[in-house]
């Protein structure tokens, strides 16, 4: 199915059908998530109401890593199979991943101040997420750094693949090193240690963020394909130079 959709014309048709549905469901899911997070969920017995920051911080963190998985996988496909949509997908996703990572960093800082007594600390978890943010920025800069878009996207794809080493470091940083950040409480051996009353709002918010990513990804991929088509039409519309204007090379 993926290889069938991975044709720009088919992609435009399929995404054109899916996009209105996604654009309708996403705001609903996010609104329900915000309602659950800000009103329904109980305050934490230790952290009080400040725990509500978790409902943006954790989904943003999940997306920060998940979008990077997507960028790296698409970059791999672009490098190995030279698939035209893979490059477009990776480049459409990278700014979204950078945005989620920035949200994760800022909300984490705003949570750390009252709970840890500091806005920032150079511990393993925080530093490895900051590195992820710079990986995104590097990818975006590299993809746009060359006049020849093909060279830019190849260089960026290589960077994306090298950056994959940061993902397990982020995930396991809280186990490998003694960090200020708490260890995993959702995806851990032995099941989640977080109560249902908080897990449900968290999952709804995470799903809302995933839907937001899917919506914006399709929108940005369609934009890239439109812009590519515009460039092709503009090039074909340029009249050929008159014969006597071409340099004589003999």
């Amino acid at each position: 199915m993926i290889s069938r959709l991975a044709n720009p014309t088919r992609f435009m048709r399929a995404s054109g059908a899916v996009l209105p549905v996604l654009a309708g469901v996403t705001p609903l899911m996010l609104l329900v998530g915000l309602y659950l997070a800000l009103i329904v969920a109980p305050p934490d017995y230790q952290q009080g109401e400040s725990v509500r920051i978790m409902f943006v911080h954790v989904p943003a963190a999940i997306m920060a890593e998940g979008v990077y998985d997507f960028v790296a996988l698409a970059s791999f496909i672009a490098l190995v199979w030279r698939h035209p949509l893979a490059d477009i997908g990776a480049q459409a996703a990278a700014p979204l991943g950078a945005a989620f990572t920035l949200v994760c960093l800022v909300t984490g800082s705003l949570w750390g101040r009252p709970m840890w007594g500091t806005w920032w600390v150079w511990d393993a978890r925080l530093t490895s997420v900051l590195v992820l943010f710079f990986l995104y920025l590097g990818y975006i800069a590299l993809a746009n750094a060359f006049d020849d878009p093909g060279r830019g996207s190849r260089a960026a794809s290589v960077l994306a693949l090298i950056g994959v080493v940061d993902l397990p470091i982020i995930k396991f940083s809280v186990n490998w090193w003694n960090t200020l950040h708490q260890p995993a409480s959702i995806l851990r051996a032995g099941g989640p240690t977080i109560d249902k009353s908080m897990l449900v709002p968290l999952m709804v918010m995470a799903l809302g963020c995933l839907l937001l990513f899917a919506t914006l990804l399709l929108l940005r991929m369609r934009t890239a394909l439109n812009e590519r088509r515009v460039r092709a039409l503009q090039l074909s519309a340029v009249p050929p130079p008159p014969a006597d204007a071409s340099p004589v090379l003999r």
Partner: protein
């Protein structure tokens, strides 16, 4: 204190909870808005070119 004001005070953490939500909405909102604006611009540009080429034989 009214229920709303008590809720808005976030148990004394209002100065951290609301900026966290505000920043998240602002960052994601800017990215979503930019994506949508650029999509519309690309559709308009494509429509102009394709409309123009249809006029010419």
């Amino acid at each position: 204190m009214s229920d709303f004001r008590q809720w808005a005070a976030m148990g004394g953490y209002a100065a951290f909870v609301w900026p966290a939500y505000g920043v998240a909405v602002a960052i994601l909102g800017v990215v979503a808005g930019q994506s949508w604006w650029r999509y519309r611009a690309s559709r308009r540009a494509l429509g102009r070119l394709q409309g123009g080429s249809r006029l010419r034989p």
